[in-house]
């Protein structure tokens, strides 16, 4: 009897108004606060890059190549004599743009597709077979293939990273819709003559938000990682553009000579992804009633 009352209380606590108040009222863990602070600093660094950077990040200076740390070049210079510190600072721009852009595009495309496949059986059968096919291609290979065929600019890069992530969003939304459409309040809406599109919009979509927000943070982290990986492999944005992946890719050869060429970009990249992931965990703990129950 006791267990039953607990479990039946769950749907109620999913109310969005309650969720929002929870998100803001919940006393966040120290790790979450640190993660948010780090991320905020990186965002500020990206926005104010032109003021923070000491040099033009793409300016070549063959005479000054491969210098160590100095007052002039805080982190030294790379093989083309470009100022490493300035390049690392500007690198934040690409990473954040790609992370946020991909997450946004994924929702834009994945949410409607998921809603439709969850509600319409025939569409579901066709589209999900297609999604299964897309899922079978490992993301990095698909991204590599797409980038290799088009000249890599920011847009194609984002599309290339987004395509493999879409099936996951579609599946997530679809499973939420499938679960929710069995709920009595959706059947009640059907009986009250509510048109299908209103049911989708009013009763089914809001239930997908909580897991969607969590998944979005993870996709954002994954996109930043994939972009860096592509650049590192030399198939990302042109090597002239300052990205953390590019910086490390170029530093690779001189790694034993000057580890700091990889170190700083790698550190910032790792911190950035870690912060996003930690915020994702925090969002999950706050939004997922199942986790909530478990943590007591």
């Amino acid at each position: 009897m006791h267990a039953q009352t607990v479990s039946t209380e769950m749907p109620a606590s999913r109310g969005i108004h309650k969720l929002m108040s929870k998100v803001f009222r919940v006393r966040p863990k120290t790790a979450t606060i640190i993660a948010a602070t780090i991320l905020l600093l990186i965002v500020l660094m990206a926005i104010f890059a032109p003021m923070i950077a000491t040099h033009d990040p793409v300016e070549l200076s063959p005479a000054n190549r491969l210098q160590g740390m100095s007052a002039e070049h805080l982190l030294g210079t790379d093989a083309y004599g470009r100022d490493l510190f300035s390049r690392v600072v500007y690198g934040a721009q690409v990473s954040l743009t790609v992370g946020l852009g991909v997450a946004f595009l994924c929702v834009l495309i994945g949410l409607p597709l998921g809603l439709l496949t969850g509600y319409f059986r025939t569409l579901d059968a066709i589209l999900m077979r297609f999604m299964d096919g897309l899922m079978a291609i490992p993301g990095i290979l698909a991204a590599i293939a797409i980038v290799s065929l088009t000249s890599a600019n920011l847009w194609t890069l984002m599309v290339a990273i987004m395509v493999p992530e879409i099936p996951q969003i579609v599946r997530l939304v679809r499973s939420q819709v499938l679960a929710t459409r069995e709920e009595a309040f959706v059947e009640a809406a059907v009986l009250m003559g509510t048109p299908t599109r209103t049911i989708l919009w009013r009763h089914l979509m809001p239930n997908t938000f909580a897991p969607l927000i969590v998944q979005c943070t993870y996709i954002c982290a994954a996109a930043i990682l994939t972009e860096a990986t592509l650049s590192f492999l030399g198939v990302g944005l042109s090597s002239e553009t300052p990205t953390w992946g590019n910086i490390m890719s170029e530093g690779r050869i001189y790694f034993q000579l000057n580890p700091s060429m990889i170190l700083w970009a790698g550190l910032l990249l790792s911190l950035c992804i870690l912060s996003v992931n930690l915020l994702g965990d925090a969002a999950r703990d706050a939004l997922d009633p199942k986790m909530k129950r478990r943590e007591g």
């Binding site: 096919g133 079978a136 490992p138 290979l141 994939t226 590192f232 198939v235 790698g266 992931n277």
Partner: protein
């Protein structure tokens, strides 16, 4: 069981068709003339024409597709545009390093990740749980190549315990083979360990809340029997699912690890192929990995039947 197996095999056909179609169309429908893109900006008209003929681009689209599929079914993956050798033989030459690396990493993962996840779930909220959880977040946040360089810096450059880079075939001596595999395997498995440990913990926690665990405790069973006999077997299905879904992660890890450690495997092959726009090689490798993905997930589906008697096909 056999019926289910056949049904699953049949269901894999449309998936593979979608994969083949996507790979095929990607080249054909990309903006601009594929031959020009492949040839690169420096190529002259004749080179472009040669590539167009080599790829059969002058035929109508559907004819091209059926010719291509027909060849694939006969095991003909085409010829490399760069080395002019058969793609199949290029792949088979590069197979050994990748397989050794992947197997080593998977073994390491299973040995480390599952016990960590079980312990974390058991000691939920205690320091060991916090340690496992925070290490695992770091584990899948730090890019594989960064982990690789850190390991090289510490174990190869500072401590000089292990060689920096390179690969030796097992034929050239088991000692060399293993010593050069340790760092890459650790690098590759880091993400995987983090993922599986987290999943094991989550899955165990879910199961530990079930009624039958309460029953087991009410019977007076010891903690160890409850954890391993009653809980872990029930938690296995979601863990296995993640192992399958993590395959994509593994592929990306292999590509990066082989680059960092200079291992001449399939991962290097695809990066080189992309850099030189050797499209038949790219196509073949994507198809092969997708096929492998389908097979692995089929095997995992079948293994559910072993862990869970409720699943009868």
């Amino acid at each position: 069981m056999l019926g289910y197996f056949i049904r699953r095999l049949l269901a894999a056909i449309p998936v593979m068709l979608v994969v083949a179609l996507s790979v095929f169309l990607l080249l054909r429908l990309s903006p601009g003339d594929p031959a020009t893109i492949i040839a690169g900006e420096m190529a002259d008209a004749e080179q472009v024409n040669n590539i167009r003929t080599a790829l059969g681009l002058n035929e109508p689209l559907h004819t091209q597709f059926f010719i291509w599929i027909g060849n694939l079914l006969q095991g003909d993956f085409g010829t490399s545009l760069i080395s002019q050798t058969s793609v199949m033989s290029m792949i088979s030459q590069r197979l050994e390093p990748t397989i050794s690396l992947a197997l080593a990493a998977i073994t390491l993962t299973v040995i480390v990740a599952v016990p960590l996840g079980v312990i974390a779930a058991w000691k939920q909220g205690k320091w060991i749980d916090n340690l496992v959880m925070s290490t695992s977040v770091v584990g899948f946040s730090v890019p594989v190549f960064v982990i690789g360089y850190i390991l090289i810096q510490v174990f190869a450059i500072e401590l000089k315990w292990l060689p920096v880079q390179g690969y030796r075939s097992i034929d050239e001596g088991i000692g060399e083979f293993i010593s050069r595999l340790i760092l890459p395997a650790m690098t590759l498995s880091s993400v995987y360990i983090a993922l599986i440990a987290r999943m094991t913990r989550a899955s165990m926690l879910e199961v530990l809340g079930e009624d039958y665990i309460r029953t087991a405790r009410a019977k007076g069973l010891g903690q160890r029997i409850v954890l391993f006999r009653h809980a872990l077997r029930n938690a296995a299905v979601p863990i296995l699912t993640v192992v399958g879904a993590g395959f994509a992660l593994m592929v990306s890890g292999v590509v990066v690890t082989e680059t960092v450690f200079n291992i001449p495997g399939l991962g290097r092959l695809i990066v080189d192929a992309v850099l030189s726009r050797d499209y038949p090689v790219i196509q073949a490798l994507i198809l092969l990995t997708a096929g492998l993905y389908v097979v692995i997930n089929l095997l995992i589906d079948l293994s559910y039947a072993i862990t869970d008697p409720r699943i009868r096909y």
